[in-house]
Symmetry: C2
Subunit: 95 residues, 2 copies
Amino acid sequence: MSFQTNEYFDGNVASIAFQSDTLPATVGVMEIGEYTFGTEAKEYMTVVSGSLTIKLLNTTEWKTYNAGETFEVEANSSFDVKVTVQTAYLCLYEK
Amino acid sequence: MSFQTNEYFDGNVASIAFQSDTLPATVGVMEIGEYTFGTEAKEYMTVVSGSLTIKLLNTTEWKTYNAGETFEVEANSSFDVKVTVQTAYLCLYEK
């Protein structure tokens, strides 16, 4: 058995997919930088280490989430992220 | 830039290395099973999703850690782990 690993943004974001006790999930790491992620399923993003400053689609407010904090992203949407320190996250995908 | 990913135990454990805001770190995932990990540096292991039941070297007690809980492992030691659901963890390495 081998877990699926993925890289995005030229390797600046890396993740490992797994099945959590509730939902399909990934854990990953983001390099310092700015990214835009699109969603298919609804996502529950929890910062594990570091922090993420995010802006949801069709909003104007940037909000910072620190380790232990979670934000939700609607399905078929997107969000912008600013990362100022290498940051680990957990993402759960609603089925 | 690309993060270093590693696999252990025939791919049953996978991790991504990064630099946390304090210490060198990895986030990773463990498949259901039983493993023994050796340490070089002192480690701070935090369960991110799922749970880990562990027994430190030279102890006899198994103890279960759930999401959000942390255990420490001394340098140049080892610990046994039982995993009953795919589990994600954060590991910080003391320099």
